[in-house]
Amino acid sequence: MTGDRRRETDPVLEVTGLDVHYGPRRRSRPALKGVSLTVAPGETVGVIGETGSGKTTLARAVLGLVPAAAGSVRIAGEDVRGYGRRQWRGLRRRGVVQYVFQDPLRSLDPDLTVADSLTEPLLVQGVPRTEAARRARAFLDRVRLPADLLDRLPGELSGGQRQRVAVARALVTEPRLVILDEPVSALDSANRVQVLEILKELRATGVALVLISHDLGSVVGTSDRIAVLYRGELVEVGPARDVVNHPRHAYTRLLVGSAPTLRAAPTDRAGRAALRALLNA
């Protein structure tokens, strides 16, 4: 997989022994415990975990939105440990990493038109207004939205359209790594397929993707590797097909066993109960 925009073979993201704590210092509880994860250029990694497993915290720590208690994060070879506000701003303005937020309903400013939202990252970088508008239009096309949506407000778009605008906004700076938090969870089947197909195309262009989801089924088809987070720890990492077919950790087994499917009957309840007991032990 030799993406045309691959500039180096170093990993775009290298997380080593990351600890994140929440809450006031005395009573803080760990949200992430010693998480290590590497994402190679052009690679797609699915991060799976249930509510409260720390998957969103992982993304926010990588983006500098929450401070790390220990461990290191390297973005495109740059160690961001101990970065201050100004240094973060400098790194972010280069547009190396972008983030697509969990909730497509709230991730776009309701008072800004689609064009305003799309051009924002470029304007922040200092791109001239006309150039920014031209590129925004091009990226709208890439997420298969008609150009006449540019003048609309988010309130006038469907959930699926909004999510695609959010994806386009993350892409306009041509980042090397995009982290998507639950990119398809809020979408119904048709929109889900559309967004997943856009992500597939994106992979082909050499952008590295991190897909965060609670639903194994929705990201497994798009991911090269799957990482399973459980209670703040990375319990399993491996090629997507292996993780699904030969889950090793009890939680992964439970996850695979719980996923509803069309043809197979749900796996036996006794088996799931046993796995749950194992996890709670």
């Binding site: 937020f101 008072d111 924002e120 922040v124």
Partner: protein, 296 residues
């Protein structure tokens, strides 16, 4: 926003009344039929062809005094509102972003201003800076500003942690950018409501200050001043305070009406309101008997 406000009946009434008041303020002194300061022997006269609203205890034409005083009164309350907006809203927005120290200090300051007895504070400032309209506005503006501080802070807080603000931050936006681009539009509707309300409050405050002789010097007429002087001659002319009181009342009422209309048409609630009005109109238009299905 304005178009939505005008879609409401109450909004139209409010804007209409306030437009007339604004015209009064602009043209009032020119419209005054007689010199508002000229005294005559004809004191405390009833309404007549020469003096439509009669004369006061020094024989001055009441209508002329009302018209002449409107500029000071209206501009005064506007000044109060603008002053409060500037003094309150800007620190309110910044308190969310400029760190804990700034937040703590401004919060305590706002609390203190709320706790201060109004008249004492006003008298103290006048004693310090000398009597005058500007000082009076300064005092009232500062005292009303905690309202704007609170409103702006609350609205900013609700936006500050929204995903779209974080998305802007992840793209490298500065705080100034975020405030200009995202926060300002969210803070505006509640501030507009507070502003309209403050215009009403400002009237009452400026009037009561003039009533006490603070701010505007005696010979110069204001609505509140007229009310004050008329009250002294209630036994001779019981109806005299009615007109200035009515003017103040109508203006305050219209400002409050406008504030309500702004609140009604902004945000989600506004959209729901506009929708239900549309529904009612449609039902009336489609008054054919076919739609007899669900009547609940």
């Amino acid at each position: 926003m304005l178009r939505r406000v005008l879609a409401l009946t109450s909004g139209r009434i409010a804007v209409g009344i306030l437009a007339v008041i604004a015209l009064l303020a602009l043209l009032g002194p020119l419209l005054a039929p007689q010199d508002p300061l000229a005294t005559s022997d004809n004191t405390l006269a009833a309404a007549s062809g020469a003096h439509w609203l009669g004369t006061d205890y020094l024989g001055r034409d009441v209508l002329s005094r009302l018209l002449d005083g409107s500029r000071v009164s209206v501009l005064g309350s506007l000044e109060v509102a603008v002053m409060a907006l500037v003094v309150g809203a800007i620190p309110g927005i910044l308190s969310v972003y400029l760190g804990r120290v700034f937040e703590w200090v401004t919060l305590r300051l706002a609390d203190t201003l709320v706790a201060l007895p109004f008249l004492l504070f006003a008298v103290a400032v006048i004693a310090l800076l000398g009597n005058g309209i500007t000082q009076a506005m300064l005092v009232t503006g500062a005292l009303v500003s905690p309202l704007f501080y609170r409103v702006a802070r609350a609205a900013t807080l609700s936006v500050a942690r929204s995903p779209y603000v974080e998305a802007a931050l992840v793209s490298g936006a500065s705080i100034g950018w975020v405030v200009r681009r995202h926060v300002w539009l969210k803070v505006l509707p509640p501030l507009a409501v507070a502003f309209a309300q403050t215009i009403g409050v400002g009237f009452v405050i400026v009037s009561s200050l003039t009533f006490l002789g603070i701010g505007v010097q005696p010979p110069e007429p204001t609505w509140g001043g007229l009310l004050a002087s008329d009250l002294g001659y209630l036994s001779h002319q019981p109806w005299a305070p009615v007109v200035p009181a009515l003017l103040i009342m109508v203006t305050v009422w219209a400002a409050n009406l406008l504030a309500d209309a702004i609140r009604d048409v902004s945000g989600e609630a506004g959209r729901a309101l506009v929708n239900s009005r549309k529904a009612r109109a449609n039902r009336r238009a489609a008054a054919d008997p076919v739609s007899a299905g669900g009547t609940r």
